[in-house]
Symmetry: C2
Subunit: 419 residues, 2 copies
Amino acid sequence: MTVELISVGTEILLGNIVNTNAAFLAEQCAGLGLSCYYQTVVGDNAERLEQTIRTALDRSDIVILSGGLGPTQDDLTKETAAKVMGRELVMDEHSKQCIQDYFTRRKIELTDNNWKQAMVPAGAIVIENHNGTAPGIIMEENGKRVILLPGPPNELVPMFKESVYPYLNDIQPGIIYSQTVKICGVGESKAETMVADLIEGQDNPTIAPYAKTGEVHLRVTARAEDEKEAKKLVKPMVKELKNRFGSYIYTTKEDVTLEQAVVDLLLANHLTVATAESCTGGLLAAKLINVPGVSEVFKTGHITYSNKAKRKFLGVKKMTLDKYGAVSEDAAREMAKGTAVVTKADVAVSVTGIAGPDGGTKEKPVGLVYIGCSVCGKVTVKEFCFQGNRSKIRESSVIAALSLMRQCILEYYSKVTFG
Amino acid sequence: MTVELISVGTEILLGNIVNTNAAFLAEQCAGLGLSCYYQTVVGDNAERLEQTIRTALDRSDIVILSGGLGPTQDDLTKETAAKVMGRELVMDEHSKQCIQDYFTRRKIELTDNNWKQAMVPAGAIVIENHNGTAPGIIMEENGKRVILLPGPPNELVPMFKESVYPYLNDIQPGIIYSQTVKICGVGESKAETMVADLIEGQDNPTIAPYAKTGEVHLRVTARAEDEKEAKKLVKPMVKELKNRFGSYIYTTKEDVTLEQAVVDLLLANHLTVATAESCTGGLLAAKLINVPGVSEVFKTGHITYSNKAKRKFLGVKKMTLDKYGAVSEDAAREMAKGTAVVTKADVAVSVTGIAGPDGGTKEKPVGLVYIGCSVCGKVTVKEFCFQGNRSKIRESSVIAALSLMRQCILEYYSKVTFG
């Protein structure tokens, strides 16, 4: 089955916002095994919107529209889609009640134009919006489907996950089941080479590689009669990937991030952590602290951008800085050691590097980064040479630091070795 | 004149990447005064791509395609666009040389398929790519224009700014001139109310408000015969905005960010800075450290997520934490004071709050954040109540901290007052 996405909104046409909804919906639809050949953005204009919906319905089985469901006269998506599908708008009592409740809870005065949002195309499936006032709508006609979703991502995303994903899964022959194998510490092209033979001959399940900064995600997807059958197809492939990537796999769970995996590892081993950052300037600590519940393990973070701060707060030796420079294996080692001493944390990680755009030399080019990790006194330092601009180099450094922390903790506690 | 954007790439259709190119191009085109009614995403498929280009050319004056200019057989954009415009592909000697040089500089072996990128449609304007191997292409025919740009943002963005923007500006009647007034410390809806009368009656120049997290940007745009005329139209409007927003305007320069403005202010007053962060966990320091040259002013940053760390590293009193809690005006004040003492920085800023999702109570809900700022011993603390999820609350806190730093420094040194 084919799906097509239409995003409605002048703010996207003006470049005022980035269209993250389309990326989210596209990824979800791909995960459902739907083929998407077109995405369109169009403004709040009745004529152009109508033409766009008609074109999409001609060439695709399912058309998902997002945006333009607000209470103002500008919002035309529902009216236009209903017209194309030949439906009248009727008052939906349940939606009306939900809107009333929404305003009452928030103690905001309800104005007459808000009732517009309770009008729905006759015979449509109405989806309750738990995070806003515009209900979602599904219209079915002659094997074609039009789905309307609210524009704000904090309304669209949960509504899609809760209601539209199961709906789309149900209408397809059999079911789709996916599992994602998340890998860090292996480069993107190396990872792709390592699975090239599997991708080459794939049919069911399929493997799709997704490259993130410093990570590779391999999504294994199978289609089958029922979930049990699909899982049976996915399982041996995930096992094969585990054989090939071993300890470099940090999770096979959809919602676990690398920082979450590191925090889980710290929690499981009753370890505390502290950070010392130079070029990343707090990004590593910020990433860890984005994990809810991190307070049990995170002791303190130091941002020692200057040499003075490295000496004063972490006890890095003046001689080391003079002889080898702040961006050196020795400095990274002393930063990690010093952090462990000062904070008494079990795990201490340090980052020092040249993020650019200035400060690079022939011997120490922009992108050169040293990352140190001390686990209960055992210090490991690794050298990296990252590509890209200042923010890309800093982002790569953070992921590499998380990856190194993970490896060092596993090597220390689980006697796992990394190839 | 109308413009239409076509993004070519399976990775966008699969939701593997977010289409930031479209947002960038849309914003630039809007700035040029071009009307954009449609954006389309299509995959590397000759038939669908050809149909999409034909449809776009039928209804728009200028069609900008991005992506699909790579060296592989999958990359079809140039071939397809040339076919639609009735052009042959011919070897461009200058592009060939550039590709040769690119590989020589990087010491990478050049393979035969790379020469495909030096083939250009006959009679096209060829734009040199300073960051990659695919040249940009402009084709003109009967008042219609097709522009091809490489997909990677680090190639597309500079190529557009250097070559395509001036080209598009030249072909339009008169010229467009914009100036952006950037404001912090004033809420979005308040700012919009303060300029509602100006927007209501606008014609030339126009004012477009862009809401960012914690900031509002007002872009004033005029069209005129020449730049001098356009500037003359923009100037009184910018002056009027300066009257209305006063010290809340942190810059009227396009490329100055809030963190840059704060660092500039520190540099101008020969001030050093240090940070102490709890809920933002390093994000504030990371933001400051993203400004090249910050090393002259940034002393050190402390991430004191736990109460213990707040006491040990910043000297926050146990009594304060017991009596008022870590998220309190008193704790923020002592964190700022302590940071100033420990680091001897002239400006010390502290952030403590509840970013959620857990940890909120009725008295201290998720989103409650206290920010303290000490300027040469004078400490100011402000209370904020932010909306949104964990990462939104942290982001809002960072912007509010930068804004407060700016206000405190200005009040101390320039005797400016904020209303």
